[in-house]
C-alpha cells in the first residue's frame, strides 16, 4: 500500500483509480489511512460479499478465524473488462506498483 501511495501520481497521470478492498470497517480504514497518509479509496466489504464474488476469500485466515480477503490485484479497464490479474502464491509477496503500471500501459 505504501508503495502504491508513493506512485499514486503515476496512476493518476494514466487516468486510473486505485481502490483497496478488505473486510476492515470504514472507521478502521479511515484511522489507518490517516496514520499512513493514504489518500486513495479504501473500500469496506465487511460481510465479504464482493470478496466472495471475486473468489478471493481466505477462509479463517483472519484474527479469531475470521474470513478475510487473500491478497489479489486486478486491472479493470474503462469499459469494465479485466485486463490484468495478479494472484500471489505467497501471502507475503504482493504486486508492486510497477507491475500494475506495466499492465495498464500494455492494455492500451
Amino acid at each position: 500500500m505504501r508503495s502504491f501511495q508513493k506512485q499514486l501520481a503515476d496512476f493518476e497521470k494514466r487516468g486510473v483509480h486505485l481502490a483497496a478492498i478488505s473486510v476492515d470497517p470504514s472507521d478502521a480504514s479511515a484511522a489507518h489511512c490517516r496514520k499512513m497518509g493514504y489518500t486513495f479509496s479504501f473500500l469496506s466489504d465487511q460481510d465479504a460479499a464482493v470478496i466472495k464474488r471475486y473468489d478471493v476469500l481466505h477462509r479463517g485466515a483472519g484474527p479469531k478465524g475470521k474470513d478475510i480477503a487473500r491478497p489479489a490485484e486486478f486491472y479493470v479497464d474503462g469499459s469494465g473488462t479485466v485486463r490484468w490479474v495478479n494472484l500471489t502464491e505467497n501471502i507475503a509477496v504482493r504486486a508492486r506498483p510497477g507491475q500494475a503500471i506495466n499492465a495498464i500501459d500494455a492494455a492500451k
Binding site: F42, T81, N90, I91
Partner: protein
C-alpha cells in the same frame, strides 16, 4: 560444601562467554524483526534479512559452544550455551514453518475474474463512509483493485 566452594571459585574465574549471549539475542531478533522488515517489499518478498540474522546468531552460538566445550576451564556456558542453542533452533524452526509453509497456504481462487471477462459490479463504502461503485472508479481509464488482508 567444600566442593561447591571450589566449583564456585573456578566458575568466578572463568570468562564470560559472550558469543552465546549475543548469538541468542541476534537469533531472537531474527524472529521478532520480521514484522518490521515485512513493511518493505525488498525484505518481505524473500526474508533474507531475517535469515541473515538467524545465520549470524547460529555462527556466534557455535563459536560460544566450541569455546565452552573445547576450553571449559577458561569459558563458561556448557549448559546455558546448549539451552540457548536449542531455543534458537526452535525459533528458527517456527520461523521457517511460518514463512515457507503457512504463508504459501493461499486459496486457489479458481473462479476469480480472468483477463477478458467483465469485472463483477459492486458498491461499497469508502473510508469516509461514501458509497463507491465499480462504475464510479472506471472513468476514464479504469481502476486497479487491490484486495488485501486488512490491518488488524
Amino acid at each position: 560444601m567444600d566442593f561447591a566452594d571450589v566449583d564456585g571459585k573456578i566458575g568466578m574465574k572463568r570468562k564470560w562467554n559472550w558469543p552465546i549471549w549475543v548469538g541468542f539475542i541476534v537469533a531472537v531478533g531474527g524472529l521478532f524483526s520480521y514484522e518490521w522488515f515485512a513493511q518493505f517489499p525488498i525484505t518481505r518478498d524473500f526474508p533474507w534479512a531475517n535469515l541473515l540474522l538467524f545465520g549470524i546468531g547460529a555462527g556466534l552460538l557455535l563459536v560460544g559452544l566450541f569455546r565452552a566445550f573445547g576450553r571449559p576451564q577458561l569459558y563458561r556456558g556448557k549448559i546455558f550455551g546448549s539451552i540457548f542453542t536449542v531455543l534458537a533452533f526452535l525459533l528458527f524452526a517456527f520461523f521457517s514453518y511460518e514463512i515457507f509453509y503457512v504463508l504459501k497456504q493461499v486459496p486457489l481462487s479458481a473462479q476469480a475474474p480472468r483477463v477478458g471477462q467483465k469485472a463483477p459490479e459492486f458498491s461499497l463504502p469508502d473510508q469516509n463512509g461514501k458509497q463507491i461503485a465499480l462504475a464510479d472508479l472506471l472513468s476514464p481509464n479504469g481502476a486497479i483493485l487491490i484486495f488485501y488482508r486488512g490491518f488488524w
